[in-house]
């Protein structure tokens, strides 16, 4: 009897050890957080309206997670959330305490710490204590200067003065912000944050409507650091200011040409030529655009994806101008010259859409049949997961245009099963739901798919929409 018991214990022990060794860690933290989120959904969604007892329960549940799993990657965010919740209820004392905990307990999370200090500053601001707020904001600048929050802080301070009518302080603060951003760029013009810094620098001029000064600063920067990425990027922004803000396309073109001349092999140099062509198209000068895009084919024949973009622009330019025969020729050229590009993949569907718009059903049918065969052929060739996933999505689109809903669903299912990590697989699930709901009138299946979507991708930007549809989806499908 005793032997049997030992044998049983011996058999079960490895499984028990395995089970308990698997307990703990981030998975358990995720689980407890998920259940807390569900249990206290109302209080977490709207802490202001929650009654005291429910709010306390929710906060207490969150605090338990932070205390139990301090090293979990989301614990800092949860601690920050607790502070925010108190802040929303205007319990500034507790909010201050909780946000301070972020800084003291999660010092390695610089961005979160910067946001917490900014949150504490906002509390002071809410209490009309600008001096206290400014001290916190200055701490953000001093302690976390390279975080996104830290970078934005000088501009925030300047904007505060401007919106409160403190002109002199605002001017000083904007100047200080500009100096700050310019210095950071000068220190390391090769840093990956340079584009953000340039954006903030322009913003610091923009708030005062000083576009001329902004252009001068960017041009000066390009002169100072001609070899860095900051130079063409700065000039590109200058051209964009001329094009979008000051509405001076000829000046924009001049700057684009300067970029092309000085940085012909850089990504921005190539894009600048594209911009010139697109500007001509925008102005309705299709033939001029063709000339500009031809420059790309001549200068950068090795860059297939760039040439494909240009070729697509030429074709769509002719189409928009109502010159369909030329457009069709250019579309076909895109397919034949750059067959392995994403732009070329779009062509059959673009042609089909033209015939659909023109209400030419016979042509449309023919083109869609060709498109389906084309995409099937491409997928069979296995050109790589990215192209295959796109072709699969377009194949589903082709079937949808043909009204072949069953085939469209099959194609979307293949997209989901073969390329589960492709972002298109996410939307494919939602699209299937829409097809079942709108076309096949099977609300039960549609609801199943929407539910699957919100369960599988709870943080997707469309998850909220799917949840709303689920709420309103009336029963009455074929399975009902």
């Amino acid at each position: 009897m005793r032997n049997n018991r030992y044998r049983l214990t011996g058999t079960l022990l490895p499984f028990l050890l395995l089970f308990f060794s698997a307990c703990g860690g981030s998975y358990d933290a995720e689980k407890i957080f998920w259940h807390a989120g569900r249990k206290h959904a109302a209080a977490l969604k709207d802490p202001v309206q929650a009654d005291e007892a429910r709010f306390s329960e929710a906060v207490s549940a969150l605090k338990k997670i932070v205390a139990r799993y301090p090293s979990w990657e989301d614990s800092g965010d949860i601690q920050f959330l607790i502070g925010q919740m108190y802040g929303m209820r205007k319990d500034f004392k507790r909010a201050h305490e909780e946000l301070t905990r972020v800084v003291t307990n999660f010092p390695q999370e610089h961005e979160l710490c910067a946001r917490s200090l900014f949150g504490i500053g906002s509390i002071y601001e809410n209490q009309d204590n600008w001096k206290g707020a400014l001290a916190q904001y200055q701490q953000v600048i001093d302690r976390y200067p390279t975080t996104m929050t830290g970078l934005q802080m000088p501009l925030y301070i300047a904007n505060y003065y401007r919106t409160h009518g403190l002109k002199e302080e605002a001017a000083r603060a904007y100047l200080s912000a500009r100096n700050n951003y310019s210095n950071l760029i000068d220190i390391n013009p090769y840093d990956k944050q340079v584009p953000v810094l340039q954006y903030l620098l322009i913003a610091s001029y923009a708030w005062q409507n000083q576009w001329g000064e902004a252009i001068a600063a960017l041009e000066d920067m390009a002169r100072k650091h001609p070899q860095s990425e900051a130079a063409p990027a700065g000039l590109y922004r200058v051209a964009m200011i001329y094009q979008e803000v000051l509405k001076k396309p000829e000046k924009a073109v001049a700057v684009y040409r300067e970029i092309i001349e000085n940085y012909p092999k850089s990504r921005l140099g190539k894009n600048a030529q594209l911009e010139i062509g697109s500007l001509s198209l925008f102005q309705g000068k299709v033939d001029q655009a063709q000339v500009e895009f031809n420059e790309i084919f001549q200068k950068y024949p090795e860059d297939a994806s760039l040439c494909a973009v240009a070729q697509l622009a030429v074709a769509s330019g002719y189409e928009k101008a109502g010159r369909w025969e030329e457009a069709l020729k250019e579309y076909r050229k895109l397919q034949s010259d750059y067959p392995d590009t994403l732009e070329a993949l779009q062509v059959p569907l673009l042609i089909a859409r033209h015939y659909q718009k023109q209400n030419q059903p016979a042509e449309l049918r023919k083109v869609l049949d060709e498109a389906a065969a084309h995409y099937t052929q491409i997928i069979a060739k296995k050109p790589g997961p990215r192209i295959e996933a796109v072709a699969q999505e377009y194949l589903a689109g082709t079937y949808s245009m043909q009204g072949e809903w069953e085939e469209a669903i099959k194609a979307l299912n293949v997209l989901r099963t073969r390329y589960p990590n492709d972002p298109r697989a996410e939307i494919a699930l939602l699209t299937m739901g829409v097809i079942y709901q709108e076309e096949l009138k099977d609300t039960r299946k549609a609801a199943e798919l929407y539910l699957r979507f919100v369960q599988e991708y709870p943080k997707h930007s469309m998850a909220g929409v799917a949840r709303e549809i689920l709420k309103h989806l009336q029963p009455g499908g074929r399975d009902q």
Binding site: S21, E30, K31, N421, L440, Q455, D479
Partner: protein
Amino acid sequence: MRVAINPGVLPAIVKKVMALFKRYPVILVPFLAIAIFDFVVLMALFLAPRPPLSSALAPVIRAFWGERFLHYPVNFLILPQLFNYFRNAASFVVGVVCTGISVALIMQAYQGVVPQVFGGIKKTLKRYVRLVAVWGMIFIVILAATKTLGHFTHSLHSARLTFGLDFLVSITVQMLFVFAIPSIIIENKKISLSVVRSLALFKNYPLATFALVCIPSLLFIPVTYFHFKLPVLMESVAPEIVLYALIARIAVIAVIDLAVTTSATVLLLMHREKENRGAA
């Protein structure tokens, strides 16, 4: 030799099976082993997102399904599918061997000999290749039949109707081949002859075969119905409901396997007795 259809054969089988279980509970061991194996596989997949198993299983899940399936509660969405894959693959070893052993044990018990597990293992391993071939053939026939049917049922957009038709196909195929594995173990038949033997027995006992395969398999219907409801139950109850549903499924499958294998084996043995009496 032609054996007459005996309408009273089903009660006789049930009576005999119950008597065998009562006298030799060791017959249950192979089925219990399959259930325990399935349970261990399920627990391993359930624990896959967590260390120490994550080091082996997480890369596979990440590569084929994506990172999100390693996080709570999304991992429960894929658990049934993962379990089916692993179970189907493992059944070619564990399922075949345990079924073979169980047939050998039932045969010994039927003959009044105390069933010897090791004797059953020896006998099964000797015939393993033939057993796997028949097992694979049944698997492929069911798969092909349901896939073919799927082409026609796809447009019905009814998961329940599709399941119903798949269930009927599966029952039909099982009825045709249910005696093949027992005849390999008991009569040491070759692959083709075991299939012929199974078809002949089905022809002789169509109603009894239908009853002994279909009645236990009906247990699968509530399990599947519950399975259809899982996405909604995950929301309204808790994601862990998937795990409990799969545990229940393991138990139900074990009961179905036990009932079908035991009764089919007993029917074959009873038929052999008749044949022997006829020959004498």
